[in-house]
Symmetry: C2
Subunit: 456 residues, 2 copies
């Protein structure tokens, strides 16, 4: 009996003590970040001194140099640039649009637009055509005989009933991605897409479109919500013509880089954990939430672990990925080189959903791995990321998952404000909250600490 | 066995069907609010057309008229004003301050200050004295022989290690509340308090102070964080004098009103459920998050229930309370009249922690009541308010709880941004997000629906 009690107490202590240790260690990480974080100041420099940094742009080059320097300053034992070819789309000039209609006398109204990423331009003379509004692809099918020679206006509303706004985005983004080619199929000459946003302003939101090679490429723009509503109201009673002038085009692919920092593992140096965000951004904004915050959180985790003298068991890589927005070449290259070098990637975590208050993590992992992760929930709860779900991973680490089956995860911050600013001129430093940004880093660091210590 | 299975299936259905009904009803409420809410537009009118509305001010009078009108428009069956006497503190003029020190030559620097609510003014000639910085009340004790004739500067930092910022506020607010009298005790002539905020700007934050009648009343102001840090740095090397001019004083108590709307219960009309926020705000801001959002959420719940044709079983009262900020006379009067009329108050819910994304509710209820509430958690989770805790209730409904033992609750929104703007000139409409505001109303409406249907 005494031996049994001894064994029992030993087992209990073995169960409880590590949890207490972990709780204390995570509290230390949190205090370090909440007191001494460099994330906000790093973000200020990235957004205000560099700004937009689309693949191939001068901003990209500056951002890579800044990233390598900041990675070293954050305490990386090794820092290097991993070269990859990136697409080089340029806006090529100012996007311009106006709507014309007859209201007794001719009225001409400027529209606030932004060309979709990867779209072709109208040419210097621009394009003018009548507008046909469609509410959906099904609606386009019904109106397919009316769109020849016209500009198709996809006025699909970002659905407010989805509580998590990323679900509204998944629901609506097909009109930006496939809309131009679907309209081209029926002879349209241009496309206007209602911005994917709940915002109360009129800023247009860009993002990649993807042409289907079976159809002609059409100039395509996004329009702000107020303009979209006004255009729709006008179209109920009268024909409206829209003039578009856009100048987008591709230059030859150029050289970009993933920026990588590393802390070598002490016990399992061959097992690699990756944390990252993407360094590129659209050109019409500062790329603050998308994804400056993911980059500075990544380096803040590095800084805090080094500041605390933490010696990881596994090798941890901190990666600022190139070209997420319009090509994913950085993430693709990272996985390809890992495969070529036969690296062992045991976990990857991305932050690319904004620097807002963390609510949880989404995981693409096995059942057993998820059970293990769920056992850590009490350790994460005090810091906010308690909603642990089985979905997601993040674009840049997707190739790792597809190549190796690496378990992947993403930080899920509160999503209400994200699509107010996403890919619009409002995605600026001023819209990032210092503490929300830092709490994201705290929760990510806690998860990385647990994966490093216990494996998955 | 068959009878047993029948009974089992009956029990299962009895368990599941209401939950399904509730889930559907809450989804309907959410859709109604997320699609058709008037909360954001109502808030715009309150903040932009009325603005600050401290008890006794012209803004208070306008806000009460607006509240009664909006309550009717939102569908209240009965609307009335409940009279109460309110204190009438006025700022009385512009708060001014400057710091002077000798840096080889004399330097004079303007400080951004705001007089604390309920504080006395310096008189038209102002007050000038050397500053003694203290970090805490313990530090004041150590320096008690140095503060006679001086201005005491409470430079207690809002603690970043508290993940929930209301805990940092509870920790720090004593310096605003008790600081002036504690300094007066040792002969100080004025007080400067570091603002209770994590903000990255320099805006000063006001709020009530409470004089202890045992000591002289001192003029007292709050200072922005950048000025506080700079003043502290200066004081490390040289004496600094500060000139203060404030003009605060009390006018005689005047008449204010709680604005009350009601939906009569169909089954238990005598059982009253109260939902509310407070209509008053500080005078140095628009009172958007504090507590315009609580007011418009309250009326949005009313509007949505009426729009859906919901017939409550119990009587639901929608209350815009008077004078929360510097007297609590509205909440006190509401409970006193309830007692005088021998009303039966079965539940009360307040929203007074900002219009940010809802994270949960805090309850002051019995064990049995809390277990019942916990059983509703799966119904609230899809809308975000899943963190159900046993603390809190809200200032205005506190008197109900103390008078009748009424179970009370408060909405707990995400707290990270609240103290950036709380009681400062930044508490304006532009800092409220439409969807976050609406989701607060959704979760409150869901909880009210459940309490109305099942009781507590």
């Amino acid at each position: 009996m005494r031996a049994f009690l001894f064994l029992l107490s030993f087992l209990l202590v073995a169960q409880i003590l590590p949890a207490q240790d972990d709780s204390l260690m995570i509290r230390k990480i949190a205090d370090e970040i909440l007191q001494n974080s460099k994330a906000y100041e790093n973000l200020r420099v990235l957004t205000k001194q560099i700004g937009g940094r689309l693949a191939g742009s001068p901003g990209m080059v500056k951002a890579e140099a800044w990233g390598a320097k900041t990675m070293k300053e954050s305490g990386a034992a090794n820092t290097w640039l991993q070269e990859c070819m990136v697409p080089h789309w340029v806006r090529g000039g100012k996007d311009e649009a106006s709507a014309e209609y007859d209201n007794g006398k001719k009225i001409k109204k400027t529209l606030d637009i932004v060309a979709l990423g990867n779209s072709i331009g109208t040419g210097p003379k621009g394009l003018k055509a009548q507008v046909v509004e469609v509410k959906s692809f099904a609606d386009l099918e019904e109106k397919k005989d009316q769109v020849k020679g016209k500009i198709v206006f996809y006025n699909y509303k970002f659905n407010p009933n989805f509580v998590k706004t990323f679900n509204a985005y998944s629901d609506a983004v097909k009109y930006r991605g496939q809309g131009p080619s679907q309209a081209a199929r029926y002879g349209a000459v241009g496309v206007i897409v209602r911005s994917m946003s709940h915002s109360t302003d009129n800023n247009p939101h860009t993002g990649s479109t993807r042409y289907d090679s079976a159809y002609p490429k059409l100039p395509a723009v996004a329009i702000g919500l107020k303009d979209a509503d006004e255009l729709s109201t006008l179209l109920k009673t009268k024909p409206v013509s829209v003039s578009l002038k856009t100048n987008g085009h591709f230059l030859p692919d150029t050289i970009g880089h993933n920026v990588i920092g590393e802390l070598k593992g002490s016990t399992y140096p061959d097992e690699i954990i990756t944390i990252g965000g993407h360094l590129d951004s659209w050109d019409n904004c500062e790329g603050a939430h998308d994804d400056g915050t993911g980059c500075v959180q990544t380096m803040e985790i590095l800084r805090s672990l080094v500041a605390l003298g933490y010696q990881p068991k596994r090798t941890i890589r901190f990666v600022l990925f190139a070209n997420e927005e319009n090509g994913l070449r950085g993430g693709t290259k990272y996985a390809a080189e890992a495969k070529a070098k036969n690296e062992k990637h045991v976990f990857a975590l991305e932050s690319d959903a904004g620097g807002f208050t963390p609510r949880g993590f989404g995981f693409t992992v096995s059942d057993a791995q998820f059970q293990k992760i769920l056992s850590w929930k009490p350790l994460l709860e005090p810091y906010g990321a308690s909603d642990l779900t089985r979905d997601g991973g993040g674009a840049d680490i997707g190739p790792l998952n597809r190549t190796f089956g690496t378990p992947v995860a993403e930080l899920n911050p509160d999503s209400q404000r994200y699509f107010d600013i996403h890919h619009s001129r409002n995605d600026v430093f001023e819209n990032v909250n210092k503490r929300e940004l830092e709490l994201g880093a705290v929760n990510m660091a806690a998860l990385i600490y647990l994966v490093d210590k216990y494996g998955l």
